[in-house]
């Protein structure tokens, strides 16, 4: 089949500003957005900055916004986009631009440093740590995260409110916290930290993080809401509160 020509409307610029620019680029059958960006880079815009690595949806480097939706460009097939309209590619909106489609995502690494590490309980008398598969099934879903930060990008809480960044760890980090909190061996209790300093209470469970996650992690249902429920256990459940008081009095 002969290649068709598509209009790629790409954001070009750097920290001082920039704008959308149109390019006519050939696109072949079966290609993904990243393929076409690479052709654009090879033929017309040699200085176009694009971050990528695996081209297989596994490294999380090629995150950008395609027609306004946060996506992995290497996993977005051209034939799923409206054929006769320009395709708009912009960098992740939530993070500061370095150049063109490349943003500075260090916000996420700073937040990761604030999460208290895994703290396993003492070993069994025979020197081992024993778990069963059903103990670990739940957290294995969270291990699939490829740190593409699309969820962090789409979360309106920081996307539309820059000033909230200091107080909010974001959905990717809530996935990490859930992984630690639900771990059968872990002994740290991070609930207070989550509610008071990492902004768990700020999430209004509108599920955009879940919608964009390329790994299909049920971020809201399986990580954030269960964490919110654990906070309710500690703070807002009158029945559990009375139970705790009675038990304390007995002992």
């Amino acid at each position: 089949m002969t290649p068709r020509t598509v209009t790629m409307r790409v954001w070009r610029g750097d920290a001082s500003g920039g704008d959308l620019k149109d390019y006519q680029v050939a696109a072949e059958e079966g290609e993904v957005v990243l393929d076409v960006l690479h052709r654009l880079q090879a033929t017309q815009a040699n200085d176009l900055a694009v971050r990528w690595n695996c081209k297989a949806g596994k490294c999380g480097s090629c995150s950008a916004e395609v027609n306004g939706v946060p996506r992995l460009t290497c996993m977005t097939r051209m034939n799923l986009l409206p054929p006769d309209e320009p395709i708009t590619i912009t960098p992740l909106r939530t993070f500061p631009v370095i150049r063109d489609l490349v943003t500075d995502v260090s916000f996420n690494y700073e937040k990761a440093k604030q999460a208290p590490a895994f703290k396993p309980r003492p070993r069994e008398p025979d020197g081992t740590h024993r778990m069963r598969q059903q103990d670990i099934d739940r957290v294995q879903e969270f291990h699939k995260c490829i740190e593409c930060f699309l969820c962090q990008d789409v979360c309106h809480f920081i996307r539309d409110h820059d000033d909230n960044k200091a107080a909010f760890a974001g959905p990717r980090m809530f996935v990490r916290y859930a992984e630690l909190e639900m771990h059968p061996l872990d002994t740290n209790d991070r609930r207070q930290l989550l509610q008071d300093r990492e902004g768990l209470g700020m999430c209004n469970i509108t599920k955009c993080c879940t919608e964009v996650c390329p790994e299909g992690i049920h971020i809201t249902d399986n990580a954030i809401i269960p964490l919110k429920e654990r906070v309710v256990d500690a703070r807002y459940d009158p029945v559990l509160w009375i139970g705790r008081k009675l038990r304390r009095r007995k002992s």
Partner: protein, 263 residues
């Protein structure tokens, strides 16, 4: 070293300005629009039903909006709890519990935050507020009472099931009509809605870290998780269920339709 806060105010792509601005070209506004119409319609219907305060009993069917009916001024009293001093609609005595439960439900929160409050209207579409603290402060921090509402509504599916069983008891003896079926289905749907709740999922077993040490909780958690994955669908179907059940009873009570008897 840069800290997370150093990034505040640095250049981000100025692709959008103003509220609800986006580069999305798909019809993102359909879902919030449907939510506004359906949820708004249900609320209006519920208010109308509550305040006209009649035609909610067509022997032996009692509308779920008025069940359990606790005051002396009921068309059909379930139990004598409130005396004759109550002269408002008896629905007002019980509706706060299921209403509060739905209002603080994690799924409905998502739906109305998007559709009515526009925070955000859809994913990657601008939030309309200039500042936003989410559910961390008053009043939205009150959403945490969902747990309490969960405890309060636990009896409701059983009460509605009781209504469904009573709906076999006709003036001319034991029988079954379309209305009996409608009431029973409604009770099952409300039971499914309550069971599929995220709080239920947490209390049944979600709070446990080592499932292998609590096999019964693990099984309960698996069952509730299966329903919980469908919580959104169940939430809508059961909402329609309540409204349509009331409508059915109402149409029979006002003689607009005749209840078909199976036997």
């Amino acid at each position: 070293m840069t800290s997370a806060t150093d990034h505040v105010g640095e250049t981000r792509v100025a692709i959008r300005t103003g509220p609800a601005a986006t580069l999305r070209q798909d019809a993102w506004w359909i879902a919030p629009l449907v939510t506004v119409v359906v949820l708004g319609g249900f609320v209006l219907y519920g208010l109308w039903v509550t305040f006209i305060n009649e035609d909610y009993y067509a022997e032996p069917y009692l509308s779920p909006f008025f069940s359990p009916c606790l005051a002396d001024n009921c068309e059909h009293q379930t139990a004598e709890v409130v005396g004759d001093w109550w002269n408002l609609s008896p629905a007002l005595l019980i509706l706060p519990a299921p209403l509060g439960f739905r209002l603080t439900c994690y799924y409905y929160r998502k739906a109305y935050y998007r559709a009515f409050l526009w925070s955000p209207p859809a994913c990657a579409v601008g939030d309309v507020r200039a500042r936003y603290a989410g559910e961390s402060r008053f009043p939205l921090i009150l959403q945490n009472v969902h747990r309490v509402f969960f405890y309060l509504v636990l009896p409701f599916p059983f009460i509605l099931l009781y209504d469904g069983i009573r709906a076999f008891d006709f003036a001319d003896g034991f029988g079954m009509g379309v209305g009996t079926l409608v009431l029973l289905v409604n009770a099952v749907l409300l039971g499914a809605y309550t069971l599929s709740c995220h709080t239920c999922r947490h209390l049944c077993g979600g709070h446990v870290d080592s499932f292998s040490k609590s096999p019964r909780r693990y099984r309960a958690w698996q069952l509730v998780s299966f329903l919980n994955e469908r919580h959104m669908q169940i939430a809508w179907v059961s909402l329609f269920g309540v409204a349509l059940t009331d409508l059915y009873v109402r149409l029979v009570a006002t003689d607009v339709i005749r209840d078909l008897r199976f036997f």
